[in-house]
């Protein structure tokens, strides 16, 4: 198993994870852990605390960011942020799953994550709501270029991994 050791990031994660006392309430509340026994938010935190490294199995991308763990954590550990940080570490290692890369592409070319359906537009008209703003694709492109997101996307694509 590959492990990342990006020291600064790991230190940051470790620091915010320190109050954790491993009660398991996050895992018991996690909707993903119910269906994917390999993804355990408690173990993710525990691993960073214990070993100072993060395992890159690709499962870190399972987190749906529902915030249930953080909501119920008795120690107010910022679990969702930790899990996002772990995703970022994984991304830096070029472990971005194709679906995420695809999603980035969608944003780059259309300026939005999901397409508003005809039905949505109809419904909005019926309710008298204003039309959805049309994203400025050129602007989004510029943002991608200037923030370095485009470079990252290109790197991700080069390192693209086949789903396990």
């Amino acid at each position: 198993m590959e492990r990342t050791t990006d020291a600064d990031r790991i230190n940051e994660i470790q620091h915010s994870a320190q109050p954790c006392f491993q009660c398991g309430i996050c895992a018991a509340s996690c909707p993903i852990f119910r269906v994917a026994p390999d993804f355990n938010p408690r173990m993710a935190v525990d691993e960073v605390l214990r070993t100072g490294t993060v395992a890159m199995t690709g499962r870190e991308w399972f987190c749906a960011y529902c915030l249930m763990c953080e909501e119920r954590c008795p120690m107010e550990v910022a679990l969702s942020e930790i899990l996002i940080d772990i995703k970022n570490l994984s991304a830096n290692d070029g472990k971005v799953p194709p679906s995420i890369i695809e999603m980035m592409d969608v944003i780059r070319f259309t300026g939005k994550v999901s397409h508003a359906s005809k039905r949505t537009e109809k419904k909005r008209r019926e309710l008298g709501l204003p039309e959805l703003p049309k994203p400025d694709v050129d602007e989004v492109q510029t943002i991608f270029e200037m923030t370095g997101a485009l470079d990252r996307l290109m790197r991700f694509r080069e390192a693209e991994v086949e789903p396990e």
């Binding site: 006392f21 491993q22 398991g24 309430i25 895992a27 018991a28 852990f33 408690r42 173990m43 119920r72």
Partner: protein, 846 residues
């Protein structure tokens, strides 16, 4: 100091007066060599010769060991022979021997508060071992500072107040009962106040109690009877404390007793009334699992053994509206016209034993209590398994009154969670294991699983109980329950929990779930100025050394009011509180802090700032708008005086006049090189002493001025020091937030910082020359570092001053000033060099 005769003469012994200094000051100075401790570094004879030249000094006597018997005798003889009326002992730290020398001068007939010390050991000889010349100069100046202070010292009365030989105990749970019994057995009158209709508290409604699983009411019942029958205890049930005024030894208490509508003396508890009462209300004692009547007795063993009418549920005690109980009662015990009573009495001490409330399960909706009938709390379980409870001891599911085949016990509900209560509730682990054992005892075939986070079976015999539970086949799974869901038809429950030892999600079905409830504090319900923690438990005076005392003299805490605890601990603490309280009662008189604050009424502008500053509620406004200090409550921190806009408050032995005199004397020579350091008596001064005891070397330019608390440091002290050209000024106190010996003094001092800094800005004083630091009694190293740093700041400032002076004097004459300025950098250089050598030496030693 000016005299103020306008202080009231009412309540003598409570509010000491402001005294004036005598006309002729005759100071005796006693420099001590302390063997070689001081003598090897400081030239004591030079110091003695210098002391003779100081104003007011009529006698100087050097001694090798002043604290030894011969030394003390010499002081006493000198007082008689030379008619001395102020004594200065220049030796070790006042924390070490101030008490000793005060007793010495008292022995010679002098008021003990006329004796002060100059600390030339911890602050001089031990910390300036490499610089005898500088050390001697510093010792001379410290003596001069003490002499300047001594000039305005006045005798302080050593007063005491009488103590009423009775006690108030608030709360008649097991702790309150124990404390009352202990005090009553010692022969003191005890008023025991209970807000419920019966005494006994939470323990009275439990079934069995861990770890031996003995019957709770069987052991508590006889004790309850002992309490009510004790000739020295007056039980006032259904009552709450309305008002407490006064001070230690002399509290006036007003209690409001709610109407009972039944005469407890006449009622025989025959239960005929409940047969006719038409009103059903949920039974609170039975955790609302069953009904009781509007006229009820909480439980059969209740004390006083009398029925009580719930006026809100009752239809009416007159015959027109209902009156059935009134008609039925052959004893004529029902009193429809009963009213709330106000009871007033005087006590000498107060013990608070108000206990805690079980945590509120409604605050944790994910566990479904209140929505799912088969999720019950541990207290509800106690009533279900109790033979006197609603089911007569049969454990059933509330949804369908059937016996559960599987029961889950969920730990840490309402405890160890930032959202409810951060702390561990201390008793729930043992309580749950007991519950599990009770289920197994009654129904061995039931499956019982305890979901715990950390099983804290810490008490005596607890491990045996845990061992037994294991043997009985009770399962223990480590993991905190995430949520509980209900099957709508069967009303069975499914819990989701991670088995953290196996990293595995468990979705398990149970017939019933017991939530092991923690405790919730209710402190603050007694009208006394005692600090309360964030989770509403009373704060003790010292967590280790004074665990049952409070910041208010004469008020003690015990039982669940102090922190969640089990029966055994409550009883232990109750006896401890009773023991501590009896010390005051037994003495009969309580000494007043001699150095307590005095308000000069002719200067006071009646702004009331001092009332807000006082952590002890010692300053009160009398009917006429005047503020007065209750000597018995005042602890002499001086925080009130530190913020008094009119300087109307006198802190004896730490008056503004005395502190200004010390500042002025300290800054008489080369003020720009000096550090004026204020240190509080309990933390920072002891920290500086520790630096001395540990021989941590630092430059000789610091002049420490001691005060009782950092809250005493007025803004004016720093201002005066800078006006006189001080190189740097330090305000040092106990660490924020909670280290202050006087609770809040350091907070008030910290709040003055912006005012000082703004003033400095206006005056063009470099910001770095003033510092606020927090030094504890254990931080000698930090004190050394601060002194070294601030010395550099002062020296830098002194250099600037010198440059300016030479620039000025170049235009004029080249004279003595230049010669002086040549000397100073040299001494500075040598100091630095020496500092370095000592440091390297220390390293080598290490």
């Amino acid at each position: 100091m000016t005299t103020s005769d306008s202080v009231s003469d009412a309540g003598t012994g409570v509010e000491p007066k402001v005294e004036a200094a005598e006309s002729e000051i005759r100071i005796g100075v006693f420099p001590c060599k302390c063997g070689k401790n001081i003598g090897a570094v400081v030239d004591i004879d030079t110091v003695a010769e210098y002391a003779k030249t100081l104003p007011g000094v009529v006698h100087v006597q050097v001694n090798t060991y002043t604290c030894a018997d011969p030394g003390q005798k010499e002081i006493q003889e000198a007082i008689r022979e030379h008619n001395l009326n102020r004594i200065i002992v220049a030796s070790c730290s006042p924390t070490m021997h101030e008490d000793t020398f005060r007793k010495t001068v008292k022995g010679a007939g002098l008021n003990p508060y006329l004796c002060i010390m100059a600390n030339i050991r911890e602050h001089v000889s031990w910390v300036h071992q490499q610089d005898p010349e500088g050390a001697t100069t510093k010792a001379k100046e410290l003596v001069a500072m003490a002499v300047a202070k001594a000039t305005s010292l006045v005798p302080q009365p050593e007063l005491d107040v009488p103590v009423t030989p009775s006690a108030l105990v608030v709360g008649a749970g097991v702790a309150g009962m124990q404390a009352s019994l202990d005090l009553a057995d010692m022969g003191y009158k005890v008023y025991l106040i209970e807000k419920e209709p019966t005494i006994g508290g939470i323990m009275a409604i439990l079934d069995k109690v861990f770890p031996q699983n003995d019957c709770s009411i069987c052991i508590l019942g006889p004790k309850m009877v002992d309490v009510i029958q004790h000739p020295n205890i007056k039980v006032i049930s259904m009552a709450e404390v309305d008002e407490v005024s006064g001070y230690v030894g002399n509290f006036s208490v007003r209690v409001r007793q709610r109407a009972r509508y039944v005469d407890p003396d006449a009622c025989t508890a025959c239960a005929e009334c409940i047969e006719v009462c038409p009103v059903d209300i949920p039974s609170r004692v039975d955790q609302n699992l069953t009904w009781k009547k509007a006229i009820y007795i909480p439980f059969p063993q209740a004390v006083p053994s009398s029925y009580v009418i719930d006026p809100e549920a009752c239809l009416g005690m007159d015959l027109l509206r209902c009156g059935k109980c009134y008609e039925k009662c052959e004893q004529h015990a029902v009193i429809p016209e009963d009213e709330d009573k106000i009871i007033e009495f005087e006590v000498g001490v107060i013990i608070i034993a108000t206990g805690f409330e079980p945590a509120d399960p409604k605050k944790i909706p994910r566990l479904g209590w209140g929505r799912y009938p088969n999720v019950i709390t541990s207290l509800e379980f106690e009533r279900l398994i109790n033979a006197a409870g609603p089911t007569e001891g049969k454990l059933v599911r509330p949804s369908d009154i059937t016996k559960p085949k599987s029961v889950a016990i969920v730990q840490c509900v309402g405890s160890r969670d930032i959202h409810t209560r951060m702390g561990c509730s201390n008793f729930c682990c043992a309580e749950s294991v007991k519950c599990a054992l009770l289920i197994k005892e009654h129904y061995p075939e039931t499956e019982v699983v305890i979901y715990y986070q950390d099983l804290r079976m810490h008490g005596k015999y607890f491990e045996d109980q845990y061992h037994k539970a294991r043997e009985e086949g009770i399962k223990f799974i480590r993991g905190r329950v995430g949520e509980i869901q209900e099957y709508p038809h069967t009303k069975n429950l499914r819990i989701s929990v991670e088995d953290t030892t196996h990293n595995e999600l468990l979705l398990v079905d149970f017939d019933m779930v017991i939530l092991s409830m923690g405790a919730e504090g209710v402190a603050g319900n007694v009208p006394l100025p005692i600090s309360v923690t964030q989770d509403k438990f009373y704060i003790e005076s010292h967590p280790k050394l004074r665990p049952v005392d409070t910041s208010s003299a004469g008020v003690f805490i015990c039982g669940g009011a102090e922190s969640p605890k089990d029966i055994r601990d409550s009883v232990i603490q109750a006896s401890a509180a009773a023991g501590r309280a009896s010390i005051i009662l037994q003495r009969g008189r309580y000494p007043i802090e001699a150095l307590s604050a005095r308000i000069q009424q002719d200067i006071c502008s009646r702004c009331g700032t001092c009332v807000k500053r006082c952590p002890y509620g010692a300053i009160i406004q009398d009917g006429t708008g005047r503020y007065t200090v209750m000597g018995a409550l005042c602890q002499a921190c001086g925080t009130c005086a530190g913020d008094c806009p009119k300087d109307a408050i006198v802190m004896p032995n730490f008056t503004n006049e005395q502190i200004f005199a010390q500042i002025e004397t300290a800054l008489k020579e080369n003020p720009e090189e000096k550090i004026v350091a204020f240190a509080c008596a309990f933390c920072s001064y002891r920290g500086s002493d520790l630096a001395g005891v540990s021989r941590m070397q630092y430059p000789t330019n610091a002049r420490v001025i001691r005060a009782m608390c950092s809250g005493r440091y007025s803004v004016k002290f720093a201002q005066r020091a800078f006006e006189l050209g001080a190189g740097s000024v330090l305000y040092s106190g106990c660490h924020l937030p909670a280290d202050c010996h006087f609770q809040t003094g350091n907070h008030w001092m910290a709040k003055r910082e912006p005012r000082i800094r703004n003033w400095m800005k206006r005056k063009g004083i470099n910001d770095e020359r003033f510092r606020i630091e927090w030094v504890s009694a254990g931080e000698g190293k930090k004190w050394q570092q601060i002194m070294t740093d601030m010395s550099e700041i002062a020296m830098k400032h002194a250099d600037e001053i010198r440059k300016k002076r030479t620039a000025k004097s170049k235009g004029k004459t080249k004279g003595g000033k230049q010669a002086k300025s040549k000397r100073s950098p040299k001494t500075q250089g040598t100091k630095k060099g020496k500092k370095k050598t000592t440091k390297t030496k220390r390293k080598k030693e290490d």
